[in-house]
């Protein structure tokens, strides 16, 4: 056998490399930073194709209107206009998008352009392709559409009444899906509890985390190869492919997605497949690439918003010692005009059904309802944060109404550290945590006792100011079992989850990893490099990570993408598996060539050497040369077994949940966050100010603690924004009232407190590295700010809204009856 040759000099001067310190657990600087800091990132609007035209959508000005004739002749007559496309053409060219809901909700007709009628203001009804961005906009303004306005339905509860106008006449009502989740014996609990607290009404408002980069795509339907090239910032391309391929009548492998840098997504770039479909059709019609970059005002009305949810008839059985037995509630989840990821929200909330608590008797009667508003998308914390907000409101309202200490009620009811893994009444398995320790720590960080003293002093001083101290306990469930979709529609053939990665040694011995994830700022290039580097005994600088979508790399499964707090489990699991498989190849070659046993080998610094006989060694470059360029010299017994190009699919240990009982192992990990905040209220004006803010998070073993803390900060800023500043408001005609950043008040730097944070790791027993997904954060500030307001306002006022701007706080202070709607009441035995 011929071993790759070394010169005598190389052997004489060679010494074994120093062992590389493990990088997992270190806050190494991010690999992606340099290009982004130097203006060299590649976002979708930075990309173009030869001969491309520019796309502009014509959008319905009406929230609900029958569409008559569409006249595109004036637009098409403009020199430089390449093509137009209308809803009627789309009806002939495509099928409706598949629906997740079972019948009757599943009969909704959703096309990439409005067909027959428009169902929300801002819905695309036609689209124009022209030589320049400005010309496309001018031409779109010349498209004439006959509208016959129809009555609108806008209220998430009233829309379920028989007299409400129908958003989709095919469904026969505005209920897209409904189901009852019932565990334990709620009626028994309500009958035997010492107190029953009734909360007639809670309302979680509509907002959007508005990624700073709007949706964008450059699409070329190449007629020669019949390939649809899609450069976009869609955050879950294979999900998009599963909707687009049946609608377009193409094979999924004709849809070739690519992306590089994405300017934030937060779940809101998941449903852009409708726009991409229209652009693909336009590209084919004009036989040229079509480029679209959404304007902010279009994004606000035409992309998607977070879910609005109204809770009615909440009843909470409570024992005299503060033990809460559970709750019963009806939920109306307003998803707007189309169900594009919905009605999955109707099961996803149940991942965290009892919140952080040992509640045993639970009932939620859930309805997904349709209105003439912008469709929703799975905004950060999706469906769980609305539910967890209700759970935290329940805890605070119970404490307030019964005169109990909200901290004591939490301590009394939290799941205890020794109970993990903890099975909830609906079969979910909380993997690890220590909620009591985290609460203690966050109260210490915020100086809870000190603020209680200040609060009492202020109360006595008659200063016209009040302080409220609030707590938010929340969960970030991650790595979903897609089998939960069967709880919505038992015909769906989905279960489990997964992610793919390819780890490769290239021609010169360089290590690269291709991911199926599509990061939007979460630092996947860095954390992947850390895990792979540790596995292969090199520095993270030596690992090139190819993040972003690229269908041609084949590093994907149907669930690939970046969403739902799962990368640290699925993406890292895939990269780790692929790196280990590559390591197997390296060991197979080295043991064969160096004629040693695997346990004799040292893997350090990109070299495999025989321990104690370090002259017998192979560098990665030598191994790569042997496989790629010198395979005549490969030992025959391994020649066909090694590729140095290993694809691995990580698959979490899930089965299929039981659709009959609506229970099962719905999510693999449960990161937790504990927020404590201090709010000051000026009584005369209702103006609020955050005086202090602390967060303790737990997400298993942090791979890169600085990245984890960054995610905690970001999620907290979104929650504070939603609690105090950001709300999407409609008028009675269904017109969005704040559709630009002038009137949609995104939080700015001075609005955000300088958070104090800490992390208390409790490694997950279920995941490859003990890490948990944690990016969504669970909406902690919405809970904590409401909790603080409740604390400041006292038991005579019930905080029933998730959004509490100055005017609402003023109303709670000065017109509490009007503000709190139906308040709360206690019935005691």
């Amino acid at each position: 056998m011929s071993v790759p040759t070394r010169t005598d000099e190389q052997i004489a001067t060679w010494s074994p490399p120093a062992p590389q310190a493990p990088s997992v657990g270190q806050s190494i600087p991010r690999k992606e930073d340099r290009r982004l800091l130097q203006g060299q990132g590649l976002f979708t609007d930075d990309l173009w194709m030869h001969r491309q035209g520019h796309v502009h959508f014509v959008r319905s000005p009406h929230a609900h209107a029958r569409i008559g004739a569409i006249d595109v002749s004036r637009a098409e007559a403009l020199p430089g206009v390449y093509a137009t496309l209308t809803g009627e053409e789309v009806r002939g060219l495509t099928d409706r998008f598949p629906q997740i809901a079972p019948e009757p909700g599943g009969s909704a007709k959703d096309y990439c352009l409005a067909v027959g009628k428009a169902r929300f203001a801002g819905e695309p009804v036609a689209v124009v392709l022209a030589e320049t961005r400005e010309l496309a906009r001018d031409a779109a303004a010349l498209v004439e559409v006959d509208y016959e306005p129809l009555p609108v339905t806008l209220d998430g509860v009233a829309t379920t009444q028989p007299d409400a106008p129908l958003v989709h006449s095919e469904i026969g009502s505005n209920i897209g899906w409904e189901g009852v989740y019932e565990f334990g014996d709620v009626d028994w609990a309500l009958e035997h509890a010492d107190h029953v607290v009734r909360i007639p009404h809670l309302h979680f408002h509509r907002f959007s985390s508005t990624p700073l980069e709007c949706n964008a795509a450059v699409v070329d339907w190449e007629q020669g190869t019949d390939t649809i090239q899609i450069l976009s910032n869609n955050q879950m391309p294979q999900f998009a492919a599963m909707f687009m391929a049946p609608a377009l009548g193409v094979r999924t492998d004709q849809l070739q997605f690519r992306s590089q840098d994405i300017g934030g997504a937060f779940g809101l770039k998941l449903t852009s497949y409708t726009n991409i479909t229209a652009i693909a059709l336009l590209s084919r019609k004009a036989n040229r690439p079509a480029k679209w970059t959404e304007y902010r005002s279009e994004h606000m009305v035409g992309s998607c918003h977070g879910n609005e949810r109204t809770f009615r008839g909440i009843e909470v059985p409570v024992m005299a010692d503060g033990q809460i037995l559970g709750f019963s509630a009806t939920a109306f989840d307003d998803v707007g005009a189309f169900m594009r990821y919905e009605p999955l929200g109707g099961v996803i909330f149940s991942q965290v059904l009892p919140g952080c608590y040992r509640f045993q008797h639970l009932r939620v009667d859930y309805r997904t309802v349709l209105t003439n508003k912008t469709p929703v998308g799975p905004n950060r914390g999706y469906s769980r944060l609305q539910h967890l907000w209700m759970v935290e409101r329940i805890v605070d309202i119970v404490a307030s109404q019964l005169g109990l200490d909200p901290v004591a009620v939490r301590r009394r009811n939290y799941i205890a550290a020794h109970e993990f893994p903890y099975e909830t009444p609906n079969g979910c398995l909380y993997d690890s945590g220590d909620y009591h320790a985290a609460l203690d720590r966050v109260l210490e960080l915020v100086d809870y006792d000190g603020w209680r003293e200040r609060q009492a002093e202020l109360r006595a001083s008659g200063s016209g100011r009040r302080i409220g101290i609030g707590i938010g306990s929340t969960l970030d469930s991650g790595t979903s079992n897609f089998g939960q979709a069967r709880l919505i529609n038992r015909e769906l053939q989905y279960s489990g989850n997964g992610e793919a990665a390819i780890c490769k040694l290239d021609l010169g011995g360089e290590i690269s990893v291709a991911l199926g994830t599509v990061p939007q700022g979460q630092g996947h290039e860095t954390t992947t490099a850390q895990v792979v580097a540790d596995t292969l005994g090199v520095s993270p600088n030596e690992v090139r990570v190819l993040a972003g979508a690229d269908s041609a790399r084949n590093a994907y499964v149907a669930f690939s993408g970046t969403y739902a707090s799962q990368f640290a489990v699925t993406g890292i699991g895939a990269a780790l598996g692929a790196a280990k498989a590559l390591r197997d190849d390296l060991y197979a070659i080295a043991t064969s060539v160096l004629e040693c046993a695997p346990e004799e080998l040292l893997l350090v610094g990109g070299t495999l050497s025989v321990e104690g006989d370090e002259d017998r060694a192979m560098t990665f470059a030598e191994i790569a040369n042997l496989v790629y360029a010198n395979n005549g010299a490969l030992p025959p017994e391994i020649a066909d077994a090694v590729t140095l190009n290993r694809r691995f699919v990580y698959r979490p240990p899930f089965g299929v949940p039981d659709w009959r009982t609506k229970s099962g192992h719905l999510t693999l990990t449960y990161a937790s966050q504990f927020h404590a905040c201090v709010v000051e209220i000026e009584e005369e004006t209702g103006a609020t100010k955050l005086l202090d803010y602390a967060i303790v998070d737990e997400c298993g073993t942090p791979i890169n603690p600085q990245i984890v803390e960054g995610q905690v900060h970001g999620a907290a800023a979104h929650g504070i924004a939603a609690a105090l500043q950001e709300t999407l408001e409609y008028d009675e005609h269904g017109q969005l009232l704040n559709g630009t950043f002038w009137d949609y008040h995104v939080v700015s730097c001075p609005d955000t407190p300088l958070f104090k944070t800490d992390n208390l790791p409790r490694p997950s027993p279920f995941t490859p590295t003990g890490s948990k997904g944690m990016g969504e954060g669970g909406g902690g500030p919405l809970h904590a700010v409401c909790s603080a307001l409740q604390d400041a306002l006292g038991p005579d006022v019930v905080v029933t809204e998730s959004h509490n701007p100055t005017e609402r706080v003023w109303q709670l202070l000065h017109e509490p009856d009007a503000a709190a709607r139906e308040g709360a009441e206690v019935r005691s035995r």
Partner: protein, 161 residues
């Protein structure tokens, strides 16, 4: 719909440039499409988000709120002028990495240019002044804390704190 066209002369990151621009062209589109400097981003079209911030004659300016013709005779600085590809990041860029002051990176060029102008104009810079000074730039990822820390760090190193 004929566009008027205008000849302009300006310096871009210190280099002289001449161009003929349509009257309706926004400065940000001139920077991105004509100059090919794609680090300057667009986030809102209404002058609120600051992703398009550049420095014109020493002042931070939102380039989506100006026409290209308004840059005639001016000195324009963009993020690409802070350090070029292959060069070491400048002190502010390095501080952003050290403090993890960027995630998706979309707001980052505008944030850097605002912070650059802030640091260059100030003789002293308190924590509150930094926070207020960055009010015109929206970041949706970081919650701002680490951005403030990064700018504070540079201010201290430059003797402004």
């Amino acid at each position: 719909m004929p566009d008027s066209v205008h000849a302009i002369e300006l310096t871009v990151n210190g280099e002289p440039h001449e161009a003929v621009v349509p009257g309706r062209q926004l400065l940000v589109h001139f920077i991105r499409d004509t100059l090919g400097l794609r680090g300057t981003h667009i986030g809102c079209d209404s002058g609120n988000c600051g992703a398009c911030t550049v420095i014109v004659d020493g002042k931070a300016v939102k380039s989506c709120m100006q026409l290209a013709v308004q840059a005639d005779g001016r000195a324009l600085e963009t993020v690409e002028g802070l350090s070029g590809p292959g060069e070491e990041p400048n002190d502010l860029q390095a501080a952003f990495t050290r403090h993890h002051a960027l995630q998706c990176g979309y707001c980052t060029p505008g944030m850097l240019m605002s912070a650059t102008a802030l640091l260059e104009q100030a003789e002293e810079l308190s924590l509150d002044e930094i926070r207020r000074g960055l009010k015109g730039n929206i970041c949706r990822c970081t919650g701002y804390v680490n951005i403030v820390r990064a700018v504070e760090d540079v201010a201290a190193r430059r003797g402004l704190a």
